[in-house]
């Protein structure tokens, strides 16, 4: 006997159920199909090509009126169901009731709307159905600015579509990188780069506070109070199973409608399928598992045994030109091993995650041709032990060679600047080599490349090798570490010339062999990035050694030392009292006067740091950076204020210098001293910068040392005024910041580039001005007390949890 089957929702899941049913037994059911949307089933996932203009709606319809008619499906489209009565087995449509023998709930999901002020303004659109898509197409016809909230699959497809239609699009994403659920940071970086190339602005770690506007959306307000103008706001932050009907009908509902492996709900005559369900604690947001569910449900209704099993799914993004693939579990869990492959010249990144002898996850960008092969290995749990070495090269790999270490240089565009001093680009050098300049000396002579400060020598040599091949004998330069083939100098140069502004950019564009560097290269990369791009890149504490991350010096017993700044060595009774009080309050075992004219509190517990800082802050004391590769101390002598020999205000100049320079990060630590006369009581002649005051003005010396090496300063310049002494000092330190290798003190760096080169650069008044301005720009971000900032986050210094109180079962 024919049974009455009612289906709520004409979406992708129920569409597949009906197809399977009518294929197997067209007479088994008399079907009534409700849909809230005023149309039947279409291929929802193809809305993105419709949005971008690559397809028309008609092309994505899967079941048209003729199909429903031919299969005797009674369609009630544009009519939402408003209630289910399981006792009398009746469904309430908006236009009237229908009785059922069997009922399927296939209501899909509803877009999640973040509960911020302004969310209901006209001009705020979600992305779920054809009406949303048409609304976006219409809005984009007027041009203007669009803000898409959410950098996941849906948000990015919306962003790309709107950009394609000529809007100026910004994506606001809460997490650190795009599509964080499907991609790791490296692939997220490449995706971002490709989207940025299309003119889409990406804002990560950005949280939406409100949508502003008078009668319609006009701007998005971010946490931190920045506003982004917007004529259109698309909210694509996630979806929620549409469970309201099921809930009201008294069915078991957790996050989704609870079903068995046969798709049966807690009521034996009601079934559910698609995004609205929850099975085994899981929700579903991609079509592949929904199709499996649909098949199982059709079989259940036809009384042939079947059961749904959850399988891995792979993700792709439907944005032309952004080729990505992600499958399996690539992040969580212990006992895992990574295989990483990067080809900067092609913008390719691949990472495989292996557990034991099985592949468990794969993330790829740029070249995803092997994606399905890897996906199969994951699904089949194939033993990959024998192909481990070559696995990453894919199924086609038979004995080929891994990437060329020189590929990063080979991949540079012809106009990439190699020699910054003389503005020589790659093509000029390559041309010179092709015209017979076959060694470094000849290249220097013909092009001037590497003829000045010499830091690009390594790159020029690599160009010689790339151009001449085996004819050129590469001198052995030491790469930074095992993660790459570049020297520090090469890396610095490439960060500048390629405008690399994030760690991920460095890892990818320069072919790093590890996921995110190591303790040797990452602190260096972090410094180079912040020195060259002070506004675009922010210091990453996780790429710093403990002292600089904790803003205190770690001691051999794991406690810390705390050294507040004493500007120019000057203090007063109030400061000393605050230090004494802190020493009492935190049981500081040792209080010592340092060699740098200030006081060290040694033996403070890590947990106490934020509190002792906060106490010292209250007395006006700030961090002395006794731990940083940055400005340490400016020692002074008493000078004209008190000393009978003093010629200038050495104390005053020292304090001014310390106040200008404090907080800055430098390649290694930087110490200064100012002495009031050539008797030199402040020991200025063995400092990184040491100034000796004389009757006629100031003698500025640089590149001294008094640690592992002892070396007298060399005279940079004699100047008549204090202002000039400051200008030259700041310019010298900025030049050092821009050029030196990480962990070279100034005396080592000057020995490499030559004092003559330093003098040459600095004697150009315009260049001096630029250096001072660049330093100031960086200081606009870094000249602040890290103690005050950290004192506000005291919790982070405490253990996360205490299990000693927890009893074992």
């Amino acid at each position: 006997m024919t049974q009455k089957l009612v289906i709520i929702g004409a979406g992708m899941a129920s569409g597949r159920v009906i197809e399977t049913l009518v294929d197997a037994d067209p007479a088994a059911f008399e079907i009534t199909l409700f849909n809230a949307e005023p149309r039947g089933n279409y291929n929802r996932i193809m809305l993105s090509p419709v949005l971008s203009g690559e397809k028309q709606y008609a092309e994505i319809v899967t079941h048209d009126d003729a199909w429903y008619a031919a299969n005797n499906v009674t369609c009630r489209f544009g009519e939402p169901v408003i209630g289910i009565d399981p006792d009398s087995k009746v469904v309430q449509g908006k236009n009237g009731p229908v009785a059922y023998d069997k009922l399927i709930v296939a209501t899909g999901s509803a877009p999640f709307i973040i509960p911020v002020p302004g969310k209901d303004l006209p001009g705020v659109i979600t992305y779920r159905d054809l009406d949303d898509t048409n609304a976006m197409i219409e809005a984009s016809a007027k041009g203007g600015k669009a803000v898409v909230i959410g950098g996941g699959l849906l948000g990015l497809e919306a962003a790309a579509g709107l950009a394609e239609r000529g809007m100026d699009v910004t994506v606001v994403h809460l997490m650190g990188h795009l599509m964080e659920r499907q991609l790791d940071e490296a692939a997220g970086y490449l995706l971002r780069r490709d989207l940025e190339k299309r003119g889409i602005t990406i804002r990560t770690q950005a949280s939406t506070k409100a949508i502003l506007g008078d009668g319609k959306a006009e701007a998005v307000l971010l946490e931190g109070d920045e506003t982004l103008p917007a004529d259109l706001v698309v909210m694509a932050v996630g979806i929620r199973p549409e469970v309201r009907l099921a809930q009201e009908a008294g069915l078991d509902v957790a996050r989704g409608i609870a079903v068995t492996a046969q798709m049966q709900t807690s009521n034996p005559d009601i079934f559910a399928v698609g995004e609205c369900i929850e099975f085994d604690g899981q929700l579903f947001g991609l079509v592949a598992p929904l199709y499996d569910q649909a098949k199982v449900l059709a079989h259940t209704l036809l009384e042939s045994p079947d059961a749904f099993v959850v399988r891995d799914v792979a993700t792709k993004l439907k944005v032309t030109g952004c080729d990505l693939f992600s499958a399996g579990d690539f992040a969580e869990g212990a006992e895992r091993e990574d295989i990483v492959f990067r080809d900067p010249s092609r913008g390719v990144y691949k990472r495989l995650v292996i557990e034991g002898d099985k592949l468990v996850g794969a993330v790829m960008y740029g070249d995803t041709a092997d994606g399905n092969w890897f996906f199969q290995l994951i699904k089949d749990e194939t033993d990959i032990e024998d192909m481990r070495e070559t696995l990453i090269f894919g199924p086609a790999f038979q004995g080929g060679s891994p990437s060329d270490p020189l590929s990063a240089v080979a991949a540079l565009p012809p106009e990439a600047e190699i020699c910054g001093c003389n503005g020589i680009c790659k093509s000029t050098i390559v041309e010179a080599i092709q015209n017979g300049a076959e060694d470094l000396g000849a290249v220097k002579a013909t092009t001037k490349a590497s003829a000045s400060c010499g830091t690009c020598t390594g790159l020029v040599e690599q160009l010689l090798q790339v151009t001449l091949g085996d004819d050129f004998q590469m001198p052995t330069a030491q790469p930074i570490c095992g993660c790459c083939d570049l020297t520090h100098e090469d890396l610095r140069r490439l960060i500048k010339s390629q405008e690399l502004k994030s760690q991920e950019a460095v890892w990818q564009e320069l072919g790093w062999k590890s996921r995110n560097g190591c303790h040797v290269c990452r602190p260096a990369v972090n410094f180079y990035l912040l020195a060259d791009w002070p506004l675009e890149y922010r210091d990453d504490p996780q790429s710093r050694f403990v002292n600089e991350r904790k803003h205190a010096n770690i001691q051999k017993d794991g406690t810390f030392s705390v050294v507040p700044r004493m500007w120019g060595g000057i203090t007063n009774a109030a400061e000393l009292r605050a230090i004494a009080d802190a020493a009492d309050k935190y049981n500081v075992p040792t209080v010592k006067v340092t060699g740098g004219q200030r006081i060290d509190l040694l033996g403070v517990k890590g947990e106490d740091l934020p509190y002792i800082w906060s106490d010292l802050n209250k007395a006006g004391l700030v961090s002395g950076h006794a731990y940083s590769k940055g400005l340490r101390t400016v020692k002074t002598c008493v000078g004209t204020d008190h000393c009978r020999f003093g010629t200038q205000d050495s104390t005053g100049l020292g304090i001014k210098l310390e106040q200008i320079l404090w907080g800055s990060w430098t390649p290694h630590k930087v110490k200064l001293a100012v002495s009031g006369c050539p008797r030199n009581c402040a020991e200025a002649t063995c400092k990184d910068v040491g100034i000796i005051c004389v009757d006629s003005g100031f003698q500025v010396g640089v590149a001294g040392a008094a640690g592992m090496d002892v070396k007298e300063t060399e005279r940079l310049i004699d100047v008549p005024t204090e202002a000039e002494a400051i200008e030259w000092t700041v310019a010298f330190i900025q030049l050092y910041r821009e050029n030196a290798k990480y962990l070279d003190r100034p005396y080592k760096w000057v020995a490499k580039v030559g004092l003559e080169w330093v003098k040459d650069v600095l004697s150009d008044a315009q260049e001096r001005e630029r250096l001072v301005a660049a330093f100031e720009l960086s200081q606009s971000i870094y000249r602040k007390d890290p103690w005050a900032e950290h004192a506000a986050t005291a919790k982070a210094f405490q253990p996360m949890a205490d299990l000693t109180l927890e009893a074992a079962e």
């Binding site: 869990g333 895992r336 995110n516 190591c518 504490p541 050694f545 770690i554 299990l803 079962e809």
Partner: protein, 109 residues
Amino acid sequence: MSWIDVGSIEEIPLRGARKVKTALGCVALFRTADAEVFAATDRCPHKGGPLSEGIVHGQSVTCPLHNWIFDLNTGQAQGETATIATFPVRVEAGRILIDGSQLTARSAA
């Protein structure tokens, strides 16, 4: 195993670490990627360096005192015959769960 919720993954900085006090001494929780967490003893076998203060890179940590490098999967020190104890840990819906059976105080029996 008895899984204990010790906090949200967001409390550990990306490529950073936090510690948890246990009956066995401090245990360090390392977060290497958005949702990847490892647990190991916080004491370096060399001279007791606090590993939670080290630099986290790939799936390894470098001790802050003298730069020994430990693989967080196995606890093995690179180039040294030393290991650190590692402990089972899971991340579920953004919460970090650690296996308490080894780490909680034995009840006096």
